[in-house]
Symmetry: none
Subunit: 216 residues, 4 copies
């Protein structure tokens, strides 16, 4: 970025970089919200990490809440869209698709800062109702609906046994959400926790439990 014209970038105070600023701020915000949560994130710190002044933050985002929403729009929603696309183009079994989705979720979310957003939102929803509603509508319900449809399809195709696909979707998702939460809460203090193993077990049990050939 700007490599060709950056000769005096270090020395001048006014660097006009409208296009790059939001990205830098959003990255710093993601990092902070993810690791500290909403309330404990200090905008001064975000600004510092983005290399701008506190005032500049308000040039791009009108409040702390707006900044958070922007982080969700910028980083979280595209991940959901990606999963949705992949489901549309899937040709194999639903079971196989779900294994793949968990795997990608692990790589793209759990092991990145994004999992911190999930955790943050769950952790602070009750103190920030406006944010809670926003997140519920744009992230939670959309994801839940997406997975429920997948399970429904699996039932129709005879891969899964009859069940309430809506709650099955919750049962499928909540351990993933849980691992994201855990990752950013007690896991760092809890050496004995192998998240991959936990997810594998979860997936294994879930698929056994929902399979057509499960004895139930």
């Amino acid at each position: 970025m700007g490599e060709l014209v950056s000769s005096n970038e270090e020395t001048c105070r006014w660097r006009r970089r409208k296009e790059e600023r939001p990205a830098e701020i959003l990255a710093a915000a993601l990092k902070n919200f993810s690791s500290k949560g909403f309330a404990a994130t200090k905008l001064a710190e975000v600004a510092k990490e983005a290399g701008v002044s506190k005032g500049t933050l308000y040039l791009y985002f009108e409040s702390k809440e707006a900044l958070f929403k922007a982080v969700v729009n910028e980083f979280v929603l595209p991940q959901i869209a990606k999963a949705e696309e992949q489901a549309e183009q899937n040709t194999g079994s639903i079971k196989h698709l779900m294994v793949k989705l968990v795997e990608q979720w692990r790589i793209n979310i759990l092991e990145t800062e994004l999992s911190g957003i999930t955790k943050m939102m769950i952790a602070e929803a009750s103190n920030f109702p406006e944010l809670a509603t926003f997140y519920l509508e744009n992230v939670i319900q959309r994801t839940r609906g997406f997975v429920a449809n997948l399970i429904k399809l699996g039932i129709e195709r005879g891969e899964f046994r009859q069940c309430n696909y809506d709650y099955a979707a919750r049962a499928f998702l909540s351990p993933m959400v849980f691992s994201a939460i855990w990752q950013h809460s007690l896991a760092p203090f809890d050496d004995s926790y192998d998240m991959n193993e936990y997810l594998n077990i979860h997936l294994d049990i879930f698929l056994r439990g929902i399979s057509k050939d499960s004895l139930g």
Copy 2:
């Protein structure tokens, strides 16, 4: 104050209140930590609800963190002890015991203020490492060990199939923890969520998945 009339415990309300103070404070602290979380709980509010002054709080608890630990000792640990006792006295199948434990957990924890403590701790662990360690050691690991032992027993008795009982314990517990978290985060915004149904499904799938007669 009260010097003149303190001869008898029945008649002097000062002496009696002295012993009641911590309980009143702890109750108010539980309520606040549970509903608002650690950072957002104001000691002024706790004091007010306990009917004492802010200064008095510091007479009994040396800091906000100490107050929280006392809440855990007073309200959370006894619940674990109770479950442990019940397991010891159990005469039926492990499966049956686990169903019963979930049911009691639902009544004694999920539907009381205690679930808020679970949620709070998970939510704010990363911002309060000292608390995190305390909770991990005294609550999490103890509970996990307890359940792992149960599953191990179930395997030995031939009720459950061979599996990593340590991770199976996590798989069993995490949905419970998750429902406690959810209860205090997005559930109030999310009409469509029936926690009982969620727990039933979870237990059903879990037991199917771990059963000896599961095809796997």
Copy 3:
């Protein structure tokens, strides 16, 4: 204040003086609101002048607006009450009473910091609607009603000619309000202004204009 027990007042940081604090703060607030206006008054400055920390302000007054209202209650309303009493006990002519009231108003309001409150309120009403309503109801309307009654009485007694006493009250009061405003705005820059003379002229013209024996 506290002369008898002030031996260590200078050296200790925690001086418990609940009774005196509000008065000290209110005095500092009056001074600042009066000379700078509402928006331009800095609570830090008020605190400093009152000899307390910024936080202490919020122990006694929950916001800047509340502090202003308290100033009005403490200093302005008693002045109105005093005038009302005096009117009740008046035995001479209404004309004479009004001359006396103007004289006292000059001494107790115009030449004290209180005139600054009048000016402040007029100056910033439009930017602080909540304050405007409060002041209008508690100060303006009460004063206006009081004077209107006086004029009405004067008409009934035959001292004054028939006229709309409500608007006559405004005509009587507005030059007084105006002089208070002027005092705190351009007067300090305007050497040629003799407020006493202005008030005398005003009163003279007003009484001539309203007199029964005015030719009109």
Copy 4:
């Protein structure tokens, strides 16, 4: 921008806008100063309403204060000049002229945004001494002198009785100023106020009071 098509003033909107800029800025500034006052007026808002950028403001006016002075020069001073002219061309009685001047003042000032400038200046003079001096010298003193001369003339002509025409001018003007102030402060909260009625009463009383045939 506009370099390619700037040959003709009719067709090129760039050249023309260049000349219009100050007028648009001044109009926006008048509106804002008038309704919000000096301190509370945000240059960002002025710029937006003028359809220019914040930077452009500083191209034409070197500071917020300079912008205000320009507003006075552009809108206020011409009004005074107009009144002066009218006085010069007056052929009837002074009394009649003064009635007419009040009427025009009502139309051209009181009921336009200009009254807001009067109010603003009075309201904020003490916080902006530089502005205060400017306004006093260019507006207040000039107007006052003009009216004093009129009254002096009236006395000489035998229309008015002997009096201090300088203070009589103040007595004449201050209710007008007062009504401008009131209009922009508490009037909007005070339904019961009829400004026309107030001015009529004022004028009536004033003319009665100053008339030759007043008994005094």
